[in-house]
Symmetry: C2
Subunit: 462 residues, 2 copies
């Protein structure tokens, strides 16, 4: 355990503004902060990790780094799947894990003010005690932080009806690349005073500013929901059912797809006994209250049946329904237990879900890559998981080729390379396919405007 | 009628790319395009008006103007209330009124693709035939255009439950200040590929780009609603009822306030006979389906009664309820018939609505200014209308002083100077009060990044 000379001089230079104990300099501990969960995304050695307690400490670091041209890589819990939080050589990592205050939950205004390190599930639990609901629910919600969710504009299961993180961010406090500590956005229900710079920060993956406080909008606690499950023989049958739900004009509060590979992985891990029944499972939810909701649940069931379900039913047993959704949430970590997983995040128009699922299947066969499928199917946001055995370079190269082909297919169908995970490192080539050179230039201009020295999370996104 | 030499050379220079008949050069006709509906906001002489048919024509103009340093002022229908569309000396006005195609309404994806000149009500009517709903409903909806709505991030009556224009914009096609024609945003339900540049355009009031196409998100047709009306003796009583609705956790689909001055103006114009009963009227709507909605309507009625209503009832007569809302929509044009109206657009936290209404009353008394009150009360977005007789300079100066005091009061209560009308010219001093110098600098940097020569709507917003 040795502290690098760079770290020593950094800590000394900031000693008046940042207590030295905020820094981690042990290389073994630094190593754990140097990457997120993206498979095969490069990262390099950081000089130190700062775990600030206040926005002023962040500001002091940014000002110092700006003067000395030191790159900064901010991060939340590191649950990202695109490499957006991966360290670059000589950088200081800013981990916001210790800024965990829920400063306010306001029942009347339906807002919460939180520090970036608050874990998503913790905020949701605290809101629930006030009869309120913070909807964005990425599968990482037990671990991921609101700051990271905002930086990546995280989605989740609820998005199909309730939208993504951006839809809940009213305001942010940010340290910009010029070292200014600013408040953007508003505290009121509406507001159009100037450009939507708060919105610009959402999803900017730490490249425009470091978020030190967030004001989110809340909703009343969600109504109880009905769960509709359907078993299908094939992905394409399930895709037809998904499209049918959109065609008949339903707005489910969740519509998830999990295939047998995922369910088997969950069963092997948690022994839930749910993988034997079907090749593909669709899980739908309806939270419209009253008889209108009952009718909608019936219609969703009909869509599943019409799509070719081998079995479909509305669950009357809440425990059973919860178990199915718990299995869905566990699918990603369960797959990771089996080896390196390259995670796609394409999103296509809903009408093309059957076609996209069919293309994913063909691409897997063509490249001889095992692909498990998991999807926020109701919004066309698909997460094919490409699995390659550890230490099998040929398999890794085949998986990467399949990854590229899936992105190309999604773009051909009018989709996007990333529905909710962010660009990070893994989707940078895809972004260049998706956006025109003029739009990439606009990104460069905006980046240069707010981070003129390019010190914030350099080399990411574009 | 004479064409200025500047206009002649402009038209000649663009003749290969823009048919000359797209230009208006008659000074009398130009004059009608030189300002919006903001009272006492300055404007100056434009050289010509371009009424383009295509994005390429807009692009050709921007490229020419960039080369020659000619300012451009884009506009929709000119129903703005902040002066955002007012001409500056020597500018070319771009009126998008002839780009009126609804290119697509997609039932399955719940999206529409429209040109900027489509009138809000026309889009809403076309969506309705497909069983779909475009919620943003500014009071100007019979005249204002989607392009103008997007440029100002327009709100309306539905926002209290369904959000503002920004919440419905998925993508835009824009000509930037560098003359690039770009597509920003997405066509899919979700997407985080790069910065939210589409969102940045929303509410930028023509200072960052000229919008030539918009993809909006739609909802299923709204459920039938119940209307709850309440009569109150005072603004503060009504304010208490408004706060109570938030306190008990209701989510009305509308909650509007109209005072007697507005109702009398409507009655004098339309003879609806609704102004005799009350000093202040609250109009609430609940669109939650079924018995849950019935229960919510009962609770709203209770809030009105508890707030001190002299009379309150849930309307069982749809025609009667529609008449009340029609009167609310007519209030602004009815007041304008009485003379110049300076329109506020402050938005305050909901808990401060009673206090803010009380301060507005005091400010009117202090400055001897007649103030009529109209409000999207459910989101704390208040539109006090300051009325000064025409050609009475002293009254105008008193009204402007009251206008400034109302802005200061709103900011003291944690509010914003503009909830939905935009900054334009009238709210520029207020914006400088609301935003820190560092945030104004960020606006300047972003503006310089996307419009480096400062030709797009110069002198507006900040």
């Amino acid at each position: 355990m040795s502290t690098s000379p760079d770290a020593t001089s950094l800590i000394a230079a900031l000693a008046d503004e940042v207590p030295p104990d905020r820094f981690v300099t042990d290389p073994d501990i630094i190593d754990r902060y140097q990457h997120d969960e993206a498979e095969w995304a490069p990262y390099a050695g950081a000089v130190a990790v700062l775990r600030p307690r206040t926005a002023r400490e962040v500001q002091a670091l940014v000002r110092h780094c700006r003067r000395h041209g030191i790159p900064i890589v901010p991060r939340g819990a590191g649950t990202g799947l695109s490499g957006g939080a991966n360290a670059v050589a000589g950088c200081v990592i800013v981990s916001l894990e210790r800024m965990t205050a829920v400063k306010q939950i306001d029942r009347l205004e339906r807002t919460a003010v939180v520090e970036p390190g608050v874990v998503n599930d913790d905020l949701r639990a605290q809101c629930a005690t006030e009869g309120l609901w913070y909807p964005p629910d990425p599968a990482s919600s037990p671990w991921s932080t609101i700051g990271g969710n905002v930086a990546t504009n995280a989605g989740g299961i609820c998005c199909v009806k309730y939208g993504v993180t951006r839809d809940y961010v009213l305001g942010v406090e940010v340290v910009t690349g010029t070292g200014e500590l600013v408040r953007l956005g508003r505290q009121t229900a509406k507001g159009v005073a100037g450009y939507d710079l708060a919105g610009l920060m959402v999803g900017s993956e730490g490249t425009l500013g470091i978020i030190t406080e967030i004001t989110v909008k809340l909703r009343p606690l969600q109504e109880p929901h009905r769960t509709i499950a359907g078993y299908f023989d094939s992905l394409v049958d399930a895709g037809r059912a998904i499209r049918a739900v959109a065609e008949v004009g339903l707005t489910p509060s969740a519509l998830e797809l999990v295939d047998k590979r995922c369910l088997q992985a969950v069963d092997e891990w948690k022994h839930m006994g749910i993988s034997a029944e079907a090749n593909v499972v669709l899980l739908g939810r309806i939270d419209t209250p009253g008889t209108v909701g009952d009718d909608e649940a019936d219609r969703m069931l009909q869509c599943f049946t019409d799509g070719g379900a081998t079995w479909a039913a509305a669950s009357t047993d809440q425990a059973e329904a919860d178990a199915l959704f718990a299995a869905r949430r566990l699918a990603y970590p369960a797959m990771e237990r089996l080896g390196p997983v390259l995670t796609e995040d394409v999103c296509v128009p809903k009408r093309h879900v059957p076609e996209m699922l069919s293309r994913i299947e063909s691409i897997g066969q063509r490249h001889d890559v095992m692909i498990a499928n998991l999807a926020h199917a109701g919004d066309g946001n698909l997460h094919p998981l490409l699995i390659a055995p550890a230490d099998d370079d040929a398999a890794r190269i085949r998986a990467q080729a399949a990854f590229d082909d899936i992105i190309t297919a999604a773009l051909e169908l009018g989709g996007t390379v990333t529905g909710e995970h962010g660009v990070g490192l893994l989707k940078m080539p895809g972004l260049r396919q998706e956006l025109s050179p003029a739009v990439i230039d606009m990104h460069r201009s905006v980046k240069a405007a707010l981070d003129p020295d390019g010190i914030l999370n350099p080399g990411k996104v574009f």
